[in-house]
């Protein structure tokens, strides 16, 4: 797991899971289809990513599939992050 994945995973665990939620969260855990992050909450997750990595993610690229795992989210972020 790289640094970005660690950061995003930690953020999702902190913001979208209850403190005493004992579900295991990995970079491949389905977030949207698994009911951890819903389509409305995706907006705040997208806002976090844009702020943290100083990028703009077009709405068309912020689909439920693209945001379904930490791995896929990081793929999106890398695509829009300046080298």
């Amino acid at each position: 797991m790289d640094e970005m994945e660690q950061t995003v995973l930690a953020y999702v665990a902190k913001e979208y899971l209850e403190e005493d939620d004992d579900r295991e969260l990995t970079v491949d855990t389905p977030l949207i289809s698994g009911g951890i992050v819903d389509s409305f909450s995706m907006v705040s997750l997208k806002r976090f990513l844009e702020k943290k990595y100083q990028i703009q993610i077009p709405d068309a690229d912020a689909s439920a599939e693209a945001f379904d795992t930490v791995t896929s989210i990081c793929t999106v972020v890398r695509r829009f992050r300046p080298n």
């Binding site: 403190e19 949207i32 289809s33 389509s39 409305f40 705040s44 068309a60 439920a64």
Partner: protein, 566 residues
């Protein structure tokens, strides 16, 4: 041949007694929704028929026959009686779309309780508001929601018991009890509570412009309208597989996700998973869904994924599509024709109406973008905004009014008789929705007549959001209004004036968004926040939300003569 046959012929001499006869009900009889959705179907000889095909996001599957529904709802009813729950007490269902939610709904009704389904994405402030108002005695929930329910319970005195349906491995505390539905001894025979037509059944909370959400109180007689509208509008027939996307935390998920289909003896499929276009199409394909009741927001999300994706699946079983929750735009109707070979039929109704009241029934020509025509037995009109007199000139915009009574009209708002009385004027139930009617009698939605925000088909009240915003240490005052959104029709936007010493930056914006999401729900979270120096107010100090809303929609702001100068 559709169930309704000719709409025009059904209008002639229509009487709700059609449904009463089909359900074997006569005035004064016992009528219990729990019984009619399970025992009665078994009594008709269909106990072995599949009632529920369930699958979750991990691909786990379960199926239940109508006899399973009968016995397992008996089991939950008996369990609640053993807990000391009395008829008339409120029992909250706070669960994802697990089988216990659907079967528990019937179980509570069978023992005479008032079932209070609440959307499981609600967080503790939203949950507490609704449980406190209803003085709820018991909350049935899942282990994953237990932390929220526990924190909520600390604020309340009424909740005696928390029932956990999947407690394996959890350390339960005092006042908490496990219910392993499939592990419990099956209760074959249960004496169903002898509810009658006006016995309270379901308490759904709905948002208005002012004050906290109101508990819309339904009665068992609502079954009559929910049964017939399901049969004629959704056209459920004996060999259909039906999928309703709505969560039973909202009225569509109970009226047409539990009561209507099961009272008709239909098989329904339930997917307990978040939105994913490929997953949804795979679900439709796998279960050979024939009738699909969805929502414009979901349809627009599917549209974003394009028609090519649809071609990867065999959806040839689909024969009838319907939609509810927000106005179905013409583009979505046309897209569904292209993608699925058939249009979505828009249906219009509200928590308060209990059943579909204006709709496109099968066979009625669809005018894309129109709400359709009144269901037989429903007298609907566009009435003047001030006088509530019907407007007969085609194209005139007014409020949609429905002439009471009809079987599923709510009988009151819990603890709020004045709020209920205010919904009626000049002999009409006023929906708060503006529309016009064309020369052919089709209704066309225009918009809300108040400040309620319709986001993704869910109504969110600004007052609840503004109250929660004030609890944030940086917020001095705020106004929550609707702003247009291409997918959800509307989303919440908050105008926020900060206390001295706070800077309106993007860190604070995200912090406030998450603050509301965790306090209330993701639906209530402002998706946009604008920091302002002050808010427009009347000279008496009341915030003028309509001015802000009009700005968002690019509409005229109207009369601002009472607005206070800066």
């Amino acid at each position: 041949m559709s169930n309704i046959g000719s709409y025009e012929e059904r209008l002639q001499g229509f009487d709700w007694s059609i449904a009463e006869r089909e359900l074997g009900y006569r005035a004064g009889d016992v009528i219990n929704i729990g019984y009619h959705c399970s025992d009665r179907i078994c009594d008709l000889g269909h106990g072995g028929k599949l009632a529920l095909l369930w699958e979750d996001h991990q691909g786990r599957e379960k199926s239940f026959t109508f006899d399973d529904l009968r016995v397992l709802s008996n089991t939950i009813a008996a369990f609640l009686v053993r807990l000391g729950v009395q008829p008339g007490e409120r029992v909250c269902l706070f669960m994802d779309r697990v089988p216990e939610l659907y079967i528990g709904f019937l179980g509570v009704l069978k023992m005479g309780g008032i079932v209070q389904p609440l959307f499981s994405a609600f967080r503790e402030d939203s949950l507490a508001t609704r449980l406190k108002d209803a003085a709820t005695s018991v909350v049935i929930t899942q282990r994953k929601h237990l932390p929220v329910v526990r924190r909520t319970r600390e604020q309340l005195s009424s909740v005696r018991q928390i029932v956990v349906v999947d407690s394996e491995g959890a350390q339960l505390k005092a006042g908490e009890v496990a219910l392993d539905l499939e592990g419990e001894p099956r209760v074959e025979a249960f004496e169903v509570f002898p509810s009658t037509a006006e016995t309270p059944s379901v308490l759904h909370y709905t948002s208005g412009t002012t004050g906290q959400p109101k508990g819309a109180q339904h009665v068992h007689y609502s079954l009559i309208a929910q049964y017939l509208t399901t049969k004629w509008v959704l056209d459920l027939q004996s060999d259909d597989i039906y999928w309703c996307n709505a969560d039973p935390g909202w009225v569509t998920g109970t009226s047409y996700g539990i009561i209507g289909p099961w009272a008709n003896g239909a098989t329904q499929a339930v997917l307990d998973a978040g939105f994913s276009a490929p997953r949804w199409y795979a679900f439709l394909q796998k279960y050979r869904v024939t009738v699909w009741y969805s929502a414009p927001t979901a349809i627009r999300l599917l549209m974003r994924e394009g028609t090519e994706l649809v071609r990867n699946y065999d959806l040839s079983a689909l024969r009838h599509l319907a939609s509810v929750g927000e106005p179905l735009n013409a583009e979505a109707v046309l897209w569904s024709k292209e993608a699925f070979g058939r249009p979505f039929h828009d249906t219009y109704w509200q928590t308060e109406t209990g059943c579909i009241v204006v709709t496109n029934v099968p066979g009625l020509p669809i005018k894309p973008g129109s709400m359709g025509k009144p269901f037989p037995g429903i007298t609907a009109a566009v009435v003047d905004l001030k006088t509530s007199e019907p407007l007969d000139t085609p194209g005139s915009v007014g409020l949609i009014g429905i002439k009471p009574p009809w079987p599923s009209l709510i009988r009151g708002y819990w603890n709020n008789p004045t709020g209920y009385a205010n919904k009626f004027k000049n002999g009409w139930y006023l929906t708060g929705d503006r529309a016009s009617k064309d020369g052919d009698g089709y209704f066309w939605f225009v918009g809300r007549d108040d400040d309620v925000i319709n986001t993704g088909g869910h109504l969110v009240g600004p007052f609840e959001i503004e109250s929660a915003l004030l609890e944030h240490p940086a917020v001095a005052e705020s106004a929550a209004v609707a702003t247009p959104d291409p997918t959800n029709m509307e989303v919440v936007k908050a105008f926020v004036a900060l206390k001295a010493g706070h800077d309106g930056n993007e860190d604070l914006e995200l912090e406030i968004m998450n603050f509301i999401r965790k306090r209330l729900s993701p639906l209530a979270m402002p998706q946009k926040i604008e920091f302002v120096a002050s808010l427009p107010k009347t000279r008496s100090g009341k915030i003028m939300r309509r001015v802000l809303r009009a700005q968002e929609f690019g509409e005229p702001v109207g009369d601002i003569s009472t607005m206070m100068d800066d």
